[in-house]
Symmetry: C2
Subunit: 271 residues, 2 copies
Amino acid sequence: AGLEAVVLVPAGATALGKLSQSVAYGARVVRLEGDFDAGMRLVREHAEALELYVVNSLNPFRVEGQKTIVLDLLQQERWRAPDWIVFPAGNLGNAAAFGKALREALAHGWIERAPRLLAVQAAGAAPFHASFEGDFARLEPVHADTLATAIKIGAPVSFRRAVRAIRETNGAVLAVDDDAILDAKAAVDAAGIGAEPASCASVAGLKQAVATGLVARHERCVCILTGHLLKDPETTLAYHEGTLAGVESRAANRPVTIAPTPEALARALGE
Amino acid sequence: AGLEAVVLVPAGATALGKLSQSVAYGARVVRLEGDFDAGMRLVREHAEALELYVVNSLNPFRVEGQKTIVLDLLQQERWRAPDWIVFPAGNLGNAAAFGKALREALAHGWIERAPRLLAVQAAGAAPFHASFEGDFARLEPVHADTLATAIKIGAPVSFRRAVRAIRETNGAVLAVDDDAILDAKAAVDAAGIGAEPASCASVAGLKQAVATGLVARHERCVCILTGHLLKDPETTLAYHEGTLAGVESRAANRPVTIAPTPEALARALGE
């Protein structure tokens, strides 16, 4: 459209694939020496003076677009709503959008009952989960720390709308640690689907929910994967190589490096 | 299909996205301390004894699959063949497959005349180009050196079949240097399409061919992009950051790193 795009990212905490795409497609990429929340604050307070139009999930048109995730899902299920929709939760834009989509689908009579929303946070960035545990009385921002960069957010901007979504759908909020996220990712990847770490919080969360009895085995559940495998090649590789700091790799297929001889290859294949 | 997959790659010369996908999807990844050609030799000579079934472009079924690139292209053009099909050339599997597809499309009467094939090599890995210059009298393997890892091949295995393809279509073979490949990539990326470096050899080659008069401006040309932008995020980012060894970056949008303050952001946007 000939518009100039500015992409603000936290320095050192942005998946390589996303960073390379932003630069490649022609955006002006500004790395901020600070975390996502510092960037979000900067944009909320100063965007207008800087003549920037904000298009992240603060923007209501963005939410209208994100609604289609749920509407497409319901259509593909022939408007027979699943029992649960499980999704990764960081800035809570998806929670807000999914809640709005279900509200409207009910109002229009497209579905007869809403699925329950299950928001899953990374344990190191779980202010929404903590708030849920306290019946949403308040939101206490945290310093976010997780390998799941897409949900590494300590002060989610869509908190109010997300609370409404969870309450209206009799939903729940869970937190899963990075080990569980990466093990779930290994399973999603090995199935030939593939996703970035944050996405797989949904699968890890469902596993936990079944283990604790929140979700019954007979219930129909849809897990949302929000980002492609190739968005974060570094984390994938480091997990399988067992070099991810603070994470225990249970990966079965660690890459090996050998001399290019038939003897070395035979040994590597025999192991 | 429950088959065990072994992926052999040259250590240190495989794009990060591809490596991460191979590991993620469950293959046993073996990095060989040597280049692509050493790995290819190893596999040709010892695969059977090691009970490996080779599925790279040596495999005739692979070529049958690659033919569909040209058949789909012709169908999308409503069987009105373009004047040229331009594509990156390394191991020459595409050249062989495209030649076979065109031969069969002519034999079946799907097209009335074949497009000319224009194979484009990286200058640092251009034995096919050198051979073409000597009327294909011989193939002299080279030590491959290029940032376009997907075509970093010094001893292409499909040489004979590729020669036939170029001859039958009155085609040509060019070589373009890494600077030209990466500038072409910047243009492909900025158009919102995006591709890995090797892919963009086709676009760089067409530019050269128009400049030298080999291709006339009025001719209809299709450039093949063989790999997605996200296959090689490292090279994309390094190009725009101006940190790629041996390459002059003409990228306009270098990422910057700043403090998360409105003053610093205003300065960054003003520059």
